[in-house]
Each structure stands twice: as C-alpha cells, then as structure tokens.
Symmetry: C2
C-alpha cells in the first residue's frame, strides 16, 4: 500500500521550480494539451493575468479589457476561431486556453469568455461566412466588443419563453428588435455595462405573423467611441458578489431596426424574397440545434471553475505544509497543519477530485472537438455531449464553490485576508453555479436525457422484473461507455478471475459500484416517471415534481461514473509507470471518497453493509495519510505555476 | 399530517407588516427575549444599521464606528456592562442584542463585538473595580476605543504558546510589554488598523524570572487624536473577504511600559510589594479560568451567524414565492420557484434548522447568565457552558456559511447582484467559521470535554460489554440533560406506552436516535482514545491523530442532540396551541432532515435499515410540501423585519 519509488532528481527541463514528480504529474494531467498549457506556464507571467484583488469595479473592468486585448495579440485564448480569421479552428484548444486563463483571474477569464467565447461563438456557430468575415477579425483583437444577450429579467433558465421580439418588416427588408415589457430586458449581460459595441440578441422571430421561435440578431448598442445608440437603453448592474472585472448590465430595445443580413441565419433566416427558410422543419428541433452549438460555453465554465479550485488547493496545501500549530506531546516540535488528520481530510480527497475532474475535462474537450468536426452529422454524439457538458458543469462548479471555501477555512484567519487570494477565488467562482445554466436545472436536463436513452432502449416494456434479469445487457446499451471502454472492460474481465476482486482498492469493484448506482437510480427514476405520466393532467405537475430530488440523484450518479472512467483512461494513457502508480493511489482516493459520500445510498440498497462502510471510511483515512508525503508533488501536478498563486502567506 | 387551523386575521398590534401567524412564531422563537427584540423592530430602522454594500474599506470603517456610537447612545447593544457603568448587567441580553445587530449588518456587529464585547468584556471579566471605573464609561459610548489583542501571527488556536511577554520591572514598578519575534505580532485584531486607542494585550507574565502564564495588560496604542504612541508598531491588514467595516490590523510592541495597575488582575497580578499573587494556584487552571470568562464572544458569534442566515433565508424564500419560471404543462401559468421540490429542499429544512438553532441560542444565553451570576461558584456549569458554546459556535457558523450560499444560489443570477444583499451576507459571515475559535479546533474541544465527562463517570473500567448493559444509566449520567429534561422524560415515558412509537414523526423516536448516536459515538471514541493512550510515546501523536475525524463526529452528534432538546423545550414553552402545532411540524422536519443527513451512520450501526432510511427521505419531502403554504409565515417568524432585508429583488 506504500509508494516506494524514490523521488527523482530535478531535470534541466523542470528547472528549480518544480519537482520531477510534480512535472510528471502535470504532464499526465495536461494530457493532449500539455504543449499548449506549458506555453502558458513559460510565457505568461502573473503580471499578464493575475489581478490585484483590491481593485474597485471601474479599475477591474478596465484591467480585464486591457489584459484580454494584450493576451489576444499574443495569440492566447483565441484558438477557437476559424483559421481564416486568425484562429486555429480548434474548439478543444479553446477550452484548454480557458482553463489556463482561469488559473490567473476569473474576471479576465469570463471577460474573454463573453467576448471570444459567447459573442464570438454566436457569430461562428450561428452565423454564416458574411458574419464571420464582417465581425470576427475585430472580435478576436477585442476591438469589436460584443455581448451575448440571451437571458432576460423575466426568463433565465426558460429560454424558449423569452419575450424579446425580432420582427421582419417586409416594407424595408429589416428586422425590428423590441423589448415589449420591462421583464423582457436582457439582464446579467457581460460587456453590456461598459465596453460592448454590439450584441447578439436572442428573441422570438416573427415573420408574417408567424413565430419561428428563438433566433439571434446582431444589434449595434454603442458607437465606436462608446456613445449611445438611439433606441437602446443600457443599465449597469454594478457591484456583484465577485467578478468585478466583468461589466454586467441590462439591455432594453425600443423598436431598434437592423438590416436583413444581421440575423445570424445558419439554421434559419429570411431570404431576399422576404420568406423564412430553414433546413430544420420543427421549431423545437431548430431551437435545440441552435442552443446545442453553444455548448462550449458550458464546458468552459466547468473547466474554469476547476482551475480556480486547483489554485485554491495549491495555496491551502502549500500553506498547510509550512504552517505549524500546537506541539507534539513530549517532543516539543510544532506540528505542520497537514500532519493533522482533519486537515488531510479537508484537502487530499479534494486534490484527488481535482485530478479526476481534470482528466474528465480533457476528455470532454476532445468530445467537443469531435462533435464540432462532425458539423451536425452525428446528432446522437451531439446530444451525448450536451448531457455530459451539463452534468460536468453542474458537478464541477458545485465542487469548486465548496472546495475553495474549504481551502480558505483550512488557512484559518489568513485565508480571509484578501492578500492571500482565496476569498477572491471564492467570490469570483460563486456565480459559476448559476450562470451558463443554473445547476439544478442542468442536472434535471441530464436526468431527462438519461431517461430518454433508457426509453429508447426499453420502449414501453413493463420494467418490473425485466430489469434485474437484463442488467448485463442494460449495462452495455444504456450505460453509454466513455472512451475508456476498452480499458474498463479489460479491468472488469481481469478482476473476475482474481480473488481480491472485493478488496477496497480493486478498481473493478469501484467501477461496478459506480455503474450500479447509476443504473439503479435511473431505473428507479424511470419507473416513477412512468407512473407519474399516467396520472390525470391536473396532477401531472405534482407527480413529476415529486421526482425532482430523484432526478438530481440520477444525474449525479451518472456524472460520477463518467468521471471515474475518464480518470481510469487517463492513468492508462500515462506512459511513466511511477507517475501512473501515484495516480492510481489518487484514483483510489477519488473512488473511495465518492463511495463514502454516497454510502447512505449503497447501504439503503444493500450494496454493502455497515461494516464494509466503516472499512471504506478507514481506507479513505489511510489513503490520506499515505499520500500526505506527496502533497507538494500532487499540487504541483495540478499545474498552477507557483508564481501565479499570488498569496502573501506563501512568500518569504 | 396537515395543518388545518385557518390563518388568523391581522391584529392591531401586528399591523399590516406581518401575518398573525408570523407574529406568533416570532414571539415563540424570541422566547424570553421577545420584548427586547421587539424594541429593535419598532425602534431601529434600516438607516440605523443596514450598510450600503458597495462601500469601500475606508467608508465602511467610518460607517461602522458612527453607527456603533449612535446605537450605543440610544442604549442598544450595551446591556452586558455593569449597571454601575450604565449597562444592565445582563450577559444574556447582550447576546440577544448581538443577534439583533446581526440582522442589520455583520461589520457593525463585529465592530460592536470588538469594542463592547471583547475589549469591554476583557475589562469587565478580567479587570477589577479600578479598571471598570477607569475604562468602561468611555468604552460604552465608543469614545474609548479598544482592541482585544490575543491572536498572534504565529499562534492563533494555540493561545498558551503566545510569544508576547509582559515582564514585571521591580525597579520602576511597571510592566514591559514586548513582542520578541516577528511572529509574536498580534494579528487580525479588530479596531487596530484605524480606530483603537487602547488594547488588552495577552502575553506571558514574567515576574522575577518565573512565567506565570498568559495574562492581560491594558496598553495605550494611539493618542486621543489617533496619533502614534512610541514603541507600538501598527499594521493595517486592509482588504478582506468581507467585514470591510472592521479595521483589522497587526500590533507589534517594542518594549512598551505600562503602570502596575494596567494588568487586568482579577485572577492574578503583582501587588504593591512586587509579588505575584493569585487565588488560583495552578497556572493551567488560571489560564482556563481566564479564558472561560470570555466565552460570551463565542456564543455571540454563533448567534450572529444564525441571524445573518435567517436574513438570507428570508430573502430567498420571499423571492421564491414571487419569482416564477417555466409553465405548468397544459395549463400555462408560470410556476413559483418555491413550488419546485428542489427549491423546497434547499430552503425549508434550513428554515427548520433556523428555528432549532434559535431555540438553542436562547437556552445558551440563559445558561451564560446563570454561569455569570454564579461568579465561579459552579465550575461544572462553567465547563458545560464552554463545551456547549464551542459546539454551538462551530455548528451554527458552518451552517451559516453553507446556507447563505444555498440562499444566494436559490435566487439564481439575481442572488449574485450586490443590490440583493446575499453576497454581502455570505462574505461577511465567512470568517465566522475561523475566528473566535477555529471550528475544527472547537469541535475537538467539545469531544475532549465529552470524553472527560465519560471518564469521570466510568473511570478506568473496561468498557467492553458493560456499555450495552448500562446504556440506560449512562443515558442519565453522561448525557447531561439540557433544561428540557422534564419534557423529554415525559415524551419518552408517554411514547413507551403508545403503539406508534416507531412512527417517523414520533418525537420519542427522534430523541432516542439523537441520543443513541451521541452515546455510541462517544463510547467508541473513548475506547479508541483509551487504546491510543497505551502506545509508546513516539507513536502517541499518530494514534490520537487517527481519531480526529471520530472526535468531530462525536462533537456533532452531541451538539445535534442538545439542539433537538432545546427545540422541544421551546415548543413546550409556547402557550399558543396553533403556533405550537406549526412548530411541532417544523421540529419534525428538523429532526428528520438531521437524521437523513446522518443516515449513513445509522445504517452502519444498524439503527435502522435501508427501507426505513428511504422512508425518512420521503417523509422529509412530504414535510417540505406540507410546510410550503406556510413559508411566508415561517420566515416572518424568523424575526427579521422586512424593511431590514435591503434586497432590490423584493421591492416593487
């Protein structure tokens, strides 16, 4: 159970900044994005992207725009744009850039996310070549600043109910963008309060009195010298709980006219004859196709939250290695905080989760690239990606909020001083839980997708009785395997032939528990939802509403399983056996800590008994103790440069 | 299972601001402090104590001092001072004032806590009549501003290891206060950075070369016009994660001399002959006696955190009743957020906890009063109070941090806007988890006290076997009953004669589960600690360190039980049967939600099986649904005036 290989000497490549083991872990966790991420570490300094946390709202906003322009000029964070316009045409790389940016500052990250990711992404994904040629070059440099104006005061999660209208005016061949009520005002819009010159405005497209559903029009909201544009009323939402560098505001449109070409018409638009045309007949399908192309934002948010958490864990762990309190009985030396079991318990399982989520993010970025490359040719893969993105976003941002707080408390009073960086991370990451999809709503989307897969597999069969007998088949069809499929199958096959299959650190046992929890939770949900579907209409809401907590549980179980598989695949792809052996221990900790968190469920469903449950808790304690001597290397492996941490407690 | 009594009409007393049920709940929850708390509601407006959340550091600091002075002049928040100096001599009332202050603003609360509670409390509790007469009148008005200079950079939790020295100089009959090393600097000291003129400085008292342990000297740190004093180096710790209105700073003493009279010498000092004298012989006992008199600060912090949480729950619940999203299938009306099961689950169990903790705080305040009145005559009651205070502080501040965040997320993007008040609460309450005793350290203190009680009862008996057989006796001795003893006994006695004792809403069953969890956890811990006590010295740290998580679990189990008993006593003391019937439902929800959170433990220890565990979850869901129509009344009952909420989303 102990890691015996000695730590290796530093190499010329790593230099004095990082241990060889830390470097190896970093390479493994970066995976396919190692070269890109190393470029950030070698070329980007704290001055380039770490914010002074005491800046006020105005200063922070100017700082964020300045840094965004400067980094874009150096080719950072613009990989997602088409090569024709100066990008690299790689959505996967754009996610990796976002993750690195988030190791510096989240305001700058979200400012770039708004400008390059959301506004730029709307042009790229919903527009056609004229839009690309017209808007993208300036968007990339940051000269042509834009907003992503989807959310309204009245409707955030329920995008299909937006009130804004985009009405075709046949007499002038224009569209009129209008906010018909006060609650139709666009709200929480980044780049709106100070810097935005343009906005991609989501609204109901009305052509000849027919509502064609939500579409997007590009609308000028400020002049080049940031002066007012008639008909657009802009509000400043001012001070927020964090992200002070992002200028969120409201936009209200009073019958504003734009040319016909300003509708982003890749999936539907009005032709020169004034007739609405779309390749997608169903209004509903069109809506979800359009929204589906915007999935990258959701993926990035999860990754950014995870980067901020890695930073927080790096600060707290390094401090816990350095800070002592109370003395050893008799011996007299003061004890480093990380020697205490309670401190280990706060940090090490979260470091393990950081690795797990990191490998899962890499996989998700590659999956995004495949779906983007397929350009709609594989709708099933597109749906899977959306489900994965929703689950990962909700899971990672929840973990980020909780874990940054744990890290801040683990540093005691020092953690509360702004100069130590943790409270800024906490405040900035907070909103990640509710923007780009509110987490509770997202997890319900995941559950609905799982039910849909379930229904496709099982149709209207009576589920009672058949479920157990066909569990194996179910596992192969409904539990959509991640890319780790072959390695998982190998582990399971090998384990079945070995006596220690029930050992707590048996990876096969972890896999089986994770899969079983997902399968059983989704099956149970399917039964309940099926029953809820049969009640009279007036009771329908109450019946499905009563399943909400069950839906959230199913979504969590699914996402946990996906993450475990990604971790396993990540270890499998690690060439260095010593690094792989450390990662395997970290994966044990991830798996067992997750099982421990859900031990109530496992015992309720008699997957294991009380004595095994207690043994799992002991195993988590033991793994924390075992990994504690590698704590520095493990946080080095999380990939945040020490010079970016910006914590006074780590200096001197 | 339904609440059938109709809501009662508004009365002249309640006016239009609040429902009669809300008023009744408020009266019940205020308990013995109703008159005092109503005085705040009737006489204190938002202008008096609700902060503009966008104030910067300097403005917020000035605002806090101004408001503190103005409220003190009106007799608020100074009840804890002796009547001779213009207070009311009531420590219980001082806690209640602190709780009300925290419904306005936490910076102001902590500013008052530093000035009146900590600095003033040190003078009151550690000083003698000369100190009272000299320092208290100005302390009460806020003219004589003071610091509580205990924590050092090097030592926070480990107060006995403080490095600051207070050395007796026989030749001049003075003390010399000195910071011998950089880590001896006092840190995180409120009132130090800007406003403090005096400081109560904790340090090792050295008399004729003998260390008499930690004592406190009153030291001038600024002149009346806030100019410098030679030998005192003051640092400003500047911007923090919250509490911007509190001027935390560092104090470094370079051989500063103070007269003999400036040692707070109630428990030990140097007489005019230059000889150290103390009524308490043991240095250790003296230290803990001195610290024990400062327990009020810890009690107040828990109560203040709970008040902030009540405010957050009030905002989020009122918003959830007003805000709609998505439509009823078929019917078309948009659904209020609070109709969703997931939203109910976020808010209602936390509202139930707010009631539970509120009743427990009332009891704790009265217990504090009794111990204060006994003036050391009942050391056992003093120790119990310290244990209770530590457990409650850690429990309530943890809950506050988690729950304010839940409330902020329950409001979606709106929750993140500063104008809606939630992020300020979150940022300000954050530090409550680590100041006035770091929570993890406090919970270990609780566990140690429980073990000590256990040892007193059982001595060195072999615990194996005897534990089960003597469980009943144990219940009566080691499980120290709260004031609810008689009502609890009545419930248990009655329940044993009734068949439905196993029903999920049987209060007797709740009590038994809570007690059983505490007893078993402490017993198990005692066994492990006993074994750990027998290992060789060099393994002693590792052996006891391995019990840390178990210690935290025991402390939580104990505190949960104490809180449940207080809730039961609070209902018993409620004269209005309709209000009592609502509170009884709320108590069901508190008890079952707490059992649900700990269902892993209960199943591990075979206290109930999986099917019962699932039934508990269903019962929590059902109670949320049942209490949802009373949500407004329930948050009204939490006692935060609507005009104090200061949330833009609730206006208009």
């Amino acid at each position: 159970m102990t890691i015996t290989a000695p730590d290796r000497p530093r190499t010329a490549e790593t230099g004095p900044r990082i241990t060889a083991t830390g470097e190896g872990l970093r390479r493994a966790l970066d995976g396919p994005f190692h070269t890109l991420k190393q470029r950030w570490r070698h070329e980007v300094s704290a001055d380039d992207f770490v914010r002074d946390p005491t800046l006020g709202v105005e200063e922070a906003r100017e700082w964020a725009l300045d840094k965004l322009v400067a980094l874009a000029a150096r080719g950072f964070a613009i990989a997602g744009f088409p090569e024709a316009q100066g990008g690299r045409g790689s959505t996967a790389e754009s996610v990796a850039h976002f993750e690195m940016l988030a190791m510096g500052d989240l305001s700058l990250t979200i400012k770039s996310g708004v400008q390059h990711g959301l506004w730029g992404g709307a042009i790229v994904n919903l527009g056609t070549s004229w839009h690309h040629e017209t808007f993208l070059p300036g968007t990339i440099t940051g000269e042509l600043t834009g907003c992503f104006a989807m959310t309204e005061l009245g409707h955030g999660s329920d995008v299909q109910s937006l009130e804004t209208t985009i009405t075709w005016l046949p007499e002038t061949c224009e569209f009129e963008v209008n906010s018909p009520t006060p609650t139709a005002a666009k709200a929480y819009i980044g780049n709106a309060a100070a810097h935005g010159k343009w906005a991609a405005v989501f609204g109901q497209l009305l052509v000849d009195g027919v509502n064609q559903g939500v579409h997007v029009a590009v609308v000028r909201i400020r002049t080049d010298d940031l002066g007012p544009v008639p008909g657009v009323v802009i509000g400043d939402q001012g001070h927020k709980g964090g992200l002070l560098g992002v200028d969120n505001g409201t936009l209200f449109f009073d019958h504003v006219r734009v040319p016909r070409t300003h509708l982003l018409d890749r999936f539907g638009g009005v032709n020169t004859e004034g007739v609405y045309t779309s390749a997608i007949e169903s209004k509903n399908a069109r809506f979800f196709t359009m929204l589906g192309t915007l999935v990258r934002g959701r993926i990035c948010v999860g990754g950014g939250a995870a980067s901020a958490t890695r930073k927080a864990l790096s600060i707290a762990t390094r401090y816990s290695l350095k800070r002592t309190q109370f003395r050893l009985p008799g011996l007299g030396a003061e004890i480093p905080l990380l020697d205490y079991q309670a401190q280990q318990r706060k940090l090490l399982p979260n470091i393990a989760k950081a690795y797990a989520y990191g490998f899962a993010m890499n996989e998700l970025a590659l999956q995004l690239q495949r779906v983007t490359d397929a350009a709609g040719a594989d709708p099933k893969a597109g749906r899977e990606l959306e489900t994965r993105a929703a689950g990962m976003k909700a899971m990672l941002t929840r973990w980020a909020n909780d874990t940054i707080q744990v890290a801040r408390e683990a540093c005691g009073g020092a953690g509360y001083l702004t100069e130590n960086g943790l409270t800024l991370l906490r405040q900035d990451a907070d909103v990640f839980a509710t923007f780009e999809g509110e987490n509770t709503v997202l997890m319900q989307l995941v559950a609905k997708a799982l039910l849909l897969d379930y229904q496709r597999t099982w149709g209207d069969l009576d589920l009672r009785g058949t479920a157990q007998a066909t569990a194996r088949m179910l596992g192969e069809t409904f539990l959509e395997r991640t890319t780790a499929r072959s390695v998982i199958d190998r582990i399971l096959t090998t384990a079945n032939r070995r006596p220690e299959a029930q050992q707590l650190t048996s990876r096969a046992w972890h896999i089986q528990l994770f899969e079983d929890r997902e399968r059983h939770t989704v099956e149970g949900l399917a039964k309940r939802m099926r029953a809820a579907g049969k009640v009279p209409a007036e009771e329908a809401f109450a019946a499905t509403n009563a399943c909400q907590q069950h839906m959230l549980a199913a979504a969590r179980a699914h996402t946990d399983r996906v993450v475990l598989e990604a971790f396993i695949a990540g270890i499998d792809a690690t060439g260095d056996p010593y690094i792989a052996s450390i990662l395997s221990k970290v994966c044990d900790l991830y798996a067992l800590a997750t099982i421990e968190e859900n031990r109530g469920w496992f015992m309720e469903h008699e997957r294991f008994d009380g004595s095994r449950s207690k043994a799992i808790t002991e195993a988590v304690d033991a793994l924390c103790l075992e990994l504690r001597p590698k704590a520095l290397e493990l946080v080095e492996g999380l990939g945040v440069e020490e010079s970016w941490l910006n914590a006074a407690i780590l200096r001197g």
